[in-house]
Symmetry: C2
Subunit: 411 residues, 2 copies
């Protein structure tokens, strides 16, 4: 059994009702219950591991593992490999993903709730920093409960300008550890009538703000009443050129939109982060599919983060397909992981616990896969530019070939 | 353990070297080696089964199961469910997918090879017909070995016009069983200089030819030297309106192109068939990902078929990343399956044996998922029509935000 770098003893007591058979992640459920040969074959089929280049676990410094044990967060670390090239040096980047539950009940004073999340995240960010993480990404709207299920506008108080206190909190770590940090917040746009956005701020490794991206696609599904709070983003599909590589952010529901993934690829992204907040009953079977598909189709790495835990709100609410009024959003199932362009992926973090996933990736793999599979070259974008231009016109007529014998009875 | 409707006894003797731990499909490997509770949870996570509406096995007539036992092909049957609507009747369609190996060595006379495949397929098609299949789809280029690895042009002799002998062979079954049949052939276009295409012919339930579609994206990867034989298709993204619903065909390598899937959806497809020929070493970890992603993203069913077996050719050939000259293409891993728009999917057919997969699906599920998730409505196609139109221009400049401190040393 592989070395688990974290306080596994904590697992049992923290399992919520949602856990029907006492497991921490799909990876461990399979590893602990199949014989090694079967596990290896299942891994090959499901995750591309041992298919070509195998993914490997990597050792982290004692300071990081000690923090994970002390604070009880999941800590896992893997390395993707790439072919050695003759004309380019490897460009290995260490990426860190943090998933976490909120820290205080949603009934606590908003200032206390935010401060408690800051305090909870500190040791996890320190573990990332001391592990030499180059690019760190937090989950969607990490500085607040995911209160958009309620449709109550008072949660807008959590919103901050791009250079607000959550950004300042992270800027100090960016500077201290020479890390790029992607911070997804609820944004208050003070220069445009104080409107609200769902925004990722990109903080450079000198603690500077490089820029922001606003969520392009907004859900209207189940309890995800986000369209009550903010509109579709107006920042296009920016790729941020950092000292560690070209990165982009596809926020949460945008992962269901292949064109959104595509546009970040067309602009040159090598790693696309997908900070999310999504619950088991709604999306869990999609979670291992969409990010991996995006990584394959666009020849880049995808880093997926989902928050953890069940958040209960003071007032019951309705939505979501006629369910009776309820006060929680369901279980945010964590399971953060990284997908590579060669169709392999890391195991996922815990479904239940806070966690830090550290992954080494050689960005040269992106172009290697472009050359191998040729998806970009064979994509016939002219054809689709024309199709979409025609489709968006109200008078669009689909290309349908109708069986001329459609209404003849079967002989 | 669920009832296996086929001659399981045959399994062992037919296992090729590729089988490292004696299993027939991923589904059975997990089912036979995990306890029922673990298996159920793994199924929920991996295939959406038991998540909301569960997929169920269905019983087929004795005549069909007898054929599978007699001829040793895998036979499995499942049913997806959908919500009952108040204003529309259910539109349940029974879909059949056939996967098969070739029947004679590739050194046999071409006429004999083709005839032997016809003979081998007859009982499988009869089983589909007697099972009440409404729409039947065969694998890519089912009437020949997948000889495009060789780059030898003599295999072009297998090509036929759209109304050639392979079509005529299937037309009789379409008429006999009131089935729509999708037949993917190597096409000889006699009206345009006898050029070659990779084409799917759609045969109506009266035995008539409704139309054809030509493969849109042509691979240049590994031993897939198909671009030596035929060019990118010129038939757009047709949707065929049949008596059983609106269907389209995304041939093989087109499954790696999200825009290809999208365009069939924009034209109104409810089921997209993906007749394929692909080998384990190259694509197997992608196989459970791309079709499911397409079904989710486009709110339609996807039916994936891959051929079976290892085909050895008379002359060794080279290609594929500097591998030494070799005479076979690797193992075609079968594993045909169906994906639903709600992120669920059927188990896959055998990795090793010929097979028929029968699946009932209520096409009402497509619109139900559109209404639930709203992907089409939230897709912002105007934005992407503009992005693609700009991208295809040689002077396109990607949207990149460069860290102004990119070249400053870390403090």
């Amino acid at each position: 059994m592989e070395k688990r770098q974290n306080g596994e003893a904590k697992k049992k007591e923290e399992e919520p009702k949602d856990s029907i058979c006492g497991y921490d992640s799909l990876h461990l459920l399979l590893k602990d219950n199949l014989n090694p040969q079967h596990f290896q074959e299942v891994s090959r089929l499901l995750t591309g591991l041992n298919c070509g280049k195998a993914i490997e676990t990597i050792a982290l410094p004692e300071s990081a593992t000690a923090l994970s044990v002390k604070h009880g967060f999941d800590l896992q670390a893997f390395s993707f490999s790439a072919d050695k090239e003759l004309l380019r040096e490897p460009r290995v980047v260490r990426v860190g993903l943090i998933q976490n539950s909120i820290a205080l009940p949603t009934t606590a004073h908003f200032a206390d709730q935010k401060k408690a999340i800051f305090e909870k995240l500190k040791p996890i960010i320190e573990a990332a920093g001391s592990s030499g993480v180059n690019i760190l990404c937090l989950q969607e709207a990490w500085m607040m409960p995911f209160a958009f299920c309620t449709r109550e506008k008072r949660w807008c108080e959590f919103a901050e300008p791009v250079d607000g206190e959550s950004t300042r909190f992270l800027q100090s770590f960016a500077l201290k550890y020479n890390m790029v940090i992607i911070s997804s917040i609820l944004e208050r746009d003070i220069n445009h009538g104080e409107v609200i956005w769902n925004t990722s701020v990109v903080i450079g490794n000198h603690g500077n703000i490089i820029g922001k991206h606003r969520k392009n696609h907004i859900p209207r599904v189940g309890d995800f009443n986000e369209s009550t709070y903010y509109m579709e983003g107006n920042t296009g599909h920016p790729v941020f050129e950092t000292v560690y590589g070209k990165i982009a952010i596809n926020i949460c529901y945008g992962r269901h939109h292949p064109l959104n993934w595509l546009a970040f690829g067309l602009n040159g992204a090598e790693i696309v982060f997908n900070p999310s907040a999504t619950v088991g009953e709604l999306s869990e079977p999609m979670w291992p599919i969409e990010a991996r598909n995006a990584a394959i189709a666009n020849s880049y790495f995808v880093a997926s983060i989902n928050r953890v835990g069940t958040e209960t709100f003071p007032n019951a609410f309705t939505s979501g397909d006629g369910k009776p009024a309820h006060a929680d959003f369901g279980h945010f199932y964590g399971s953060s992981y990284v997908s590579a362009p060669d169709a392999s992926c890391t195991p996922s973090l815990s479904r239940y616990r806070d966690g830090l996933l550290v992954t080494d990736m050689d960005l040269n793999l992106c172009r290697q896969l472009k050359d191998k599979w040729g998806f970009r070259m064979t994509s016939r974008y002219e054809l689709y530019a024309d199709t979409l231009a025609r489709y968006v016109k109200p008078e669009f007529e689909p290309q349908v070939i109708t069986d001329p014998l459609l209404h003849r009875k079967a002989s």
